[in-house]
């Protein structure tokens, strides 16, 4: 039942989007004087809404969208569920015990509970029988009371599964108990030593609060932002180019202003991107709640929210740039030559942030990139994942991004307006410079 709020939220998002689409599609029915029958007043969002509505309908209907969405949902499901299968509390392991005192059984059960594992102890008559059972896959590990632990395959230091953690815990605890016995400690003394806790370490500055969960969420978020931005920005680029190449742009601009057309395209494709991202996140959160994954614990929801915010801001910033670039080309090969310079800052920000997340600490470069609009969509969620962004730093970066986006949109709209009707080859930016000020 804990998942109910998330399910309701997901349903609400879907209903809102459907309602919004219907509003865009239906429009208002006020009539304008002087227009012939059937010609009606402009809709709530005017021509921009109509253009956006077409983009949404066409994109949702496209096979590419459906296939990519299914793949993304599958990847997200795998990313959420697989770790829980690996570390799940319901995992049951069979542990063979050879020549162990009765106290060993309770010790093994206690350690299993500590790492979230359920174990079934199987007493084997001798070590060779236990070894055979282990090799046959009947047992997961064997504890030999004489002082050896057997596992089927070596366990690496980076293996954080419950089984691996259990083996390490058993090895450490039994080794310590053996040492206590050799030192001549009474059981009470040994228990007191075993329960020793390290002294707390306090820092002058407050705790950063970053944990593996938040970092992992940030990692998934950065990858999600990159995939979605790459996909939808290429749609913008290709969409604008195709309208120019097919000359449908002339028919559209005969009745719609360039700014409205551009805004409608950006908003429509952006709405589809956001719908996909929100659906994925809602799906991930609900699934995480159901299977008990870490995604909804600690500060991870904050990282998820930051990811969505920066997805929107990143799209808003780049969409204008890609639209303006698309208006310069009228052939596929011309578009290809534009893709590399356009995607360079995107890829740079992504890779630097990815390395930052993977390395476990935010480098100075990531901290700087978090305030630059082209790279902030990746760097800032990374900082949030590390707990190294305060609320005012986050808002400052948002403000910088919004301001730069407004500026970029202004210039892009002028480039688009001037270039989109020029045919006969790729338009060079320097050709447009004299006309941009007009």
């Amino acid at each position: 039942m804990k998942a109910l709020p998330f399910i309701l939220a997901a349903v609400a998002v879907v209903l809102l989007v459907r309602f919004g689409l219907r509003r865009i599609g239906r429009g208002r029915s006020s009539r304008l004087g002087g227009l012939p029958g059937g010609l009606r007043g402009r809709r709530l969002l005017g021509d921009t809404g109509l253009v956006a509505g077409r983009e949404i309908r066409e994109r949702l209907r496209g096979r590419v969208f459906r296939v990519v969405t299914i793949i993304l949902f599958a990847v997200v499901a795998a990313a959420v569920v697989i770790p829980t299968i690996h570390t799940g509390t319901t995992t049951r392991q069979k542990v063979g015990v050879v020549a162990g005192p009765p106290a060993l059984d309770s010790e093994l059960q206690k350690l299993a509970t500590a790492v979230g594992l359920r174990v079934e102890l199987v007493h084997e008559p001798d070590l060779s029988a236990a070894r055979a059972a282990l090799s046959a896959g009947y047992l997961n590990m064997v504890v030999d009371g004489s002082g050896t632990i057997l596992v089927e395959n070596p366990i690496s230091d980076t293996d954080t599964s419950a089984g691996a953690r259990y083996v390490r815990a058993v090895a450490t605890a039994l080794g310590a108990q053996q040492a206590f016995a050799r030192a001549g400690l009474t059981p009470e003394q040994a228990a007191a030593v075993a329960e020793a806790k390290p002294w707390p370490v306090e820092s002058v500055h407050p705790s950063k609060g970053a944990t593996t969960t938040e970092e992992a969420t940030a990692l998934i978020g950065v990858i999600l932002i990159f995939i979605i931005l790459t996909q939808y920005l290429s749609w913008i680029l290709m969409g604008v180019m195709e309208e120019k190449a097919s000359r449908v742009i002339e028919v559209l601009l005969a009745t719609v202003r360039p700014g409205q057309l551009l805004a409608g395209k950006v908003a429509g494709i952006g709405a589809v991107a956001l719908l996909q991202a929100v659906s994925l996140v809602a799906f991930a959160l609900v699934l995480a709640k159901v299977v008990g994954a870490n995604l909804v614990q600690g500060a991870a929801p904050l990282v998820v929210a930051a990811t969505l915010v920066w997805l929107v801001l990143g799209y808003a910033f780049y969409s204008w740039v890609y639209a303006a670039a698309g208006s310069l080309a009228e052939r596929q090969d011309q578009v290809q030559s534009l893709v590399l310079p356009l995607s360079a800052p995107l890829i740079f920000g992504y890779i630097v942030s990815l390395i930052g997340v993977s390395s476990g600490s935010a480098s100075l470069l990531v901290k700087v990139l978090a305030y630059l609009p082209p790279t902030a969509p990746f760097a800032m969620p990374t900082l949030v994942g590390f707990g190294e962004a305060t609320w005012w730093q986050f808002l400052l970066s948002v403000a910088v991004s919004v301001a730069c986006t407004a500026l970029v949109a202004l210039v892009a709209a002028r480039v688009y307006r001037t270039a989109v009707l020029r045919t006969g080859g790729r338009v060079r930016l320097r050709e447009l410079v004299p006309t941009l000020g007009k």
Binding site: L39, L50, R54, V251
Partner: protein, 296 residues
Amino acid sequence: MLEFDGLSRRFGPVTALDDLSFSVPSGQVVGFLGPNGAGKTTTMRAVFGLTDLDAGSVRWNGVPIGATQRRRFGYMPEERGLYPNMLVADQLGYLGRLHGMDRHSAAVATKQWLERLDVADRSTSKVETLSHGNQQRVQLAAPLVHDPEMLVLDEPLSGLDPTGIDAIGEVLVEQARAGRCVLFSSHQLDLVEDLCESVAIIDRGRLVARGTVDELATSGARRLAVRVDGDRQGSWAQGIPGVTVSEIDGGEVRLVLDDSTDSDVVLDAARSAGRVTEFVFVRRRLSEVFRETVGQ
């Protein structure tokens, strides 16, 4: 009435429009003619604000054209002008709605026009899957869906088979009869002559002829159509003072006579070359008007 008033436009060293002025009355199909690069497309684009003008203005019923007027016009550009991947009916409905129609009216009009142009069975097909002729029919339906007051069509007949030409020509005439203003460009002069009440001919951005087809056909020098057995190339007419060979078409020689030339002189020359089977005063063909006005 659509009025072009003193339009001028230069693209670098090229003069596309040079003080171009003429008007297109409602209720007529007006042919817009000119050689390649004469400025026809630039003129048509100027109606819809798709090109900046260095000087001049385009007016509709005396008022400079703005966004409100353009919403009531229909425009068909020369090349495609449709989304290749969009379904035919969706596309027409969308364009109708961009011109201010509500969803229902746009759907009804789309259905009617697709039936009228005989492509109703392809309404759920993507445009790119249609034949060239059917694409052109859909292309024509696009500016008609919203029941425009004026139609501006750039080369609507190019590449069509005779059936397609008849279908589209019929629609254009029907629209003009209904009081719409119809301006279309074409290089198929015979078709223009059949379809249009009047024509405007431009060359190098300037108007070189304007009038009804009848006026242009009957104006200018007298002309004769002569057919002489045994001389299909009209060599007998070469060298007659005051006579110019205008066209030779299937053995019929069309001659232009200046004011001082007596037609009897021509008849004598023809008789001397062979048996004369045709000798008649004729009107100017549009192709002759075109060649004579643009100097080709």
